[in-house]
Amino acid sequence: MRYYLIENENEYIIDLTKTEILSSDLVEFEFSTLKKNELINKKTVFVRKLAGQYFASFDQQCWNKIPRQNMPRKMIYVDKVIDLYRGYKPSGLAASGEGDLNTQMPGKVVKILAKTGDQVSKGQTLLILEAMKMENEMRSNIDGVIKEIHVKEGQALEQGVLMIEIAPLKK
């Protein structure tokens, strides 16, 4: 199984290269991390279930509790938000177009004033974002056509989230 971890411009691939069930409560995994097709890290991890809790270890001697969680869409590392995809690489994630509308600060979508396929002009208000207790009008940077809207009204957003993709009009 392959995982794709995407953080800003950095893309990491974590390959699960080995899974071995050692007993009814012990599994061995081997992970390796690739960055730009180069192997940067490789490690064997053991997971053991004990009293309904999960514990992980690299050497089967020192065990650490790991939080139970379902497959998250995001992983957080200190100040980094890492998008996580299991088994597939989403298309069009790497390149950020000039017409893309990203959040500049955390906020909540109050209203979306456009829909996919709409032709919009530069400076047109496309979305109202409530942030720091103020309503902010988010305007289009270019003349173009709305390619995709990734957010819903009422949704809470992190900083740097892609809200709307706009394809530029061909001159």
């Binding site: 199984m1 995982y3 971890l5 953080e7 990491y12 974590i14 699960l16 899974t19 069930i21 409560d25 599994v27 995994f29 992970f31 991390t33 940067i40 890290n41 490690k43 991890v45 053991f46 997971v47 279930k49 809790q53 999960y54 992980a56 690299f58 650490n64 509790k65 790991i66 939080p67 139970r68 969680q69 379902n70 497959m71 998250p72 995001k74 992983m75 957080i76 590392y77 200190v78 100040d79 980094k80 938000v81 600060m105 955390p106 906020g107 909540k108 409530e130 942030a131 009422g154 809470a156 957003l157 992190e158 900083q159």
Partner: protein
């Protein structure tokens, strides 16, 4: 007789209050809203009421709706928690008019203490030290200089309408007042629509020290010693401790500041739980800052060192019950407690970072308390305060409490949210913090966020992914 008590709040404090109501064998009634139907505090409430509306103004700040619902549900008393309507005298009066008890002080106390200028004047009249300075706006540069000479430099030029660290300038001498006066006047006019300035003595390296007060309806006012809340960012506290390391073993000073707080509470005939805040200078002189007429976020550390249950006592006080406190001497303290506020925020920029909790697990040392509103699936939105929990440890002394806090932080796993746990970890390792030598400028001076290791540790990901895979294959 069984009372029906409504909690007009949300988050961790709502759970805390509900538990206290359960203990008293009263009926705990909690609110929920459309945007927060999974609120964790409902778990501890016997009855659930829906608050209609989307914004805060329509829900938790809506006096009309809350009073109407309280009447409809035959509520005997309302606990406001902190924030929202907790220091709103109109709310207290509206409840009283409807024959419902407001769990807090009488509305006059809220009104008087809610106004900074009035409370300062009142304190001054009662002989309680306040930060020396002009009592009203100064007319001219000359007047500002005259006052500055009277109270001695350095001084602070301060916009009457300013706040939250804005509209303030430090002046070390006459020349600096001359240079800054007109500029700050213009700036305040532009920012707040009011160009009036005050002159105040500048306290260098101040410490923020507050005294916990608890009073009943019979005129008995007790103090529960002090807390120190000097570690702040953007003028908001993030770490608090009790007792104050700055006061330390100086029992005379401790007695003095605590009895000063009681004296002030007596002036307004205070009759509930409250906090008197002081600012303490390097020479240990202290000045009255303000009084908070509500339960405070950091009340658990006082509970830990004195054994009191402030929320239960606050309810008992309001309904005229027995606090089980014979006299001030009965109240003793032991050990040391520290609280770290766990916030959903970026630890480097300290700005709120909303998100969704994917995993939440704890593995704490003995002597840990974690008041929180976390659960798997909780969505932290920009609407609410980013504080999701309060991690409190208690030790036999400060050294042990800090050691326990380091262990507790290591044993707190919150997945899916950016949190300030790593910032707290750095602060707990900071030499000046460990020695207790810090002021309210700590974050600015020490810049602890620069020491947070942000390099990605793939081993952490392997462990988490291994856990997910293990669950997938049915382990």
């Amino acid at each position: 007789m069984t009372k029906r008590i409504l909690i007009a709040n949300r988050g961790e404090i709502a759970s805390r209050i509900a538990k206290a109501i359960n203990e008293l064998e009263f009926v705990a009634i909690g609110f929920w809203t459309e945007s927060e139907s999974q609120a964790r505090h409902l778990e501890f409430c016997n009855e659930w009421i829906k608050l209609v509306g989307v914004t805060h103004a329509e829900t938790y700040l809506n006096i009309e709706q809350i009073v109407r619902l309280a009447k409809e549900h035959k509520v005997d008393a309302v606990h406001p928690g902190y924030g929202f309507l907790s220091e709103n005298a109109d709310f207290a009066e509206a409840l009283n008019k409807a024959g419902i008890i407001f769990i807090g002080p009488h509305s006059d106390a809220i009104r008087v203490m809610g106004d900074k200028a009035t409370s300062k004047m009142l304190a001054k009249k009662a002989g309680i030290p306040v930060v020396p300075g002009s009592s009203k706006a100064v007319e001219s540069v000359e007047e500002a200089i005259r006052i500055a000479e009277e109270i001695k430099y350095p001084v602070l030029l301060k916009a009457v309408a300013g706040g939250g660290g804005r509209g303030m300038r430090a002046c070390l001498n006459e020349q600096e007042i001359k240079d800054q006066f007109a500029a700050l006047q213009r700036e305040s006019m532009a920012a707040f629509g009011n160009g009036d300035l005050l002159v105040e003595k500048l306290i260098i390296n101040p410490r923020h020290i507050e005294v916990q007060i608890l009073a009943d309806k019979n005129g008995n006012i007790y103090h529960f010693f002090e807390r120190e809340c000097s570690i702040q960012r953007r003028h908001q506290k993030i770490i608090e401790e009790a007792p104050s390391p700055f006061i330390g073993d100086d029992e005379e000073l401790r007695q003095k500041i605590c009895s000063t707080a009681v004296d002030l509470a007596k002036v307004v005939k205070y009759d509930s739980a409250g906090t008197v805040e002081f600012i303490m200078a390097e020479d240990k002189s202290f000045y009255f800052l303000e009084m908070n007429t509500r339960i405070q976020v950091e009340h658990p550390i006082t509970e830990e060192i004195t054994g009191i249950d402030l929320i239960v006592c606050m309810i008992q006080s309001a309904i005229g019950g027995d606090l089980h406190i014979p006299n001030q001497e009965f109240i003793k303290r032991s050990g040391h407690a520290i609280e770290c506020r766990i916030c959903a925020e970026d630890p480097l920029t300290m700005l709120p970072a909303p998100g969704k909790v994917y995993g939440f697990e704890t593995s704490f040392p003995q002597g840990t308390r974690f008041d929180n509103c976390l659960y798997r699936g909780l969505e932290v939105t920009p609407d609410f305060d980013p504080m999701v929990g309060k991690l409190v440890t208690k030790g036999i002394n400060r050294y042990v409490a800090v050691r326990k806090m380091r262990a507790a932080l290591k044993g707190l796993f919150i997945e899916g949210l950016k949190t300030n746990i790593s910032l707290h970890q750095v602060i707990m390792e900071n030499e000046n913090f460990k020695n207790g030598s810090y002021s309210t400028n700590f974050i600015i001076v020490e810049n602890p966020q620069a020491k947070i290791n942000t390099e990605i540790d793939f081993l952490k990901f392997y462990k988490e992914l291994a856990g997910i895979e293990a669950r997938n294959i049915g382990l």
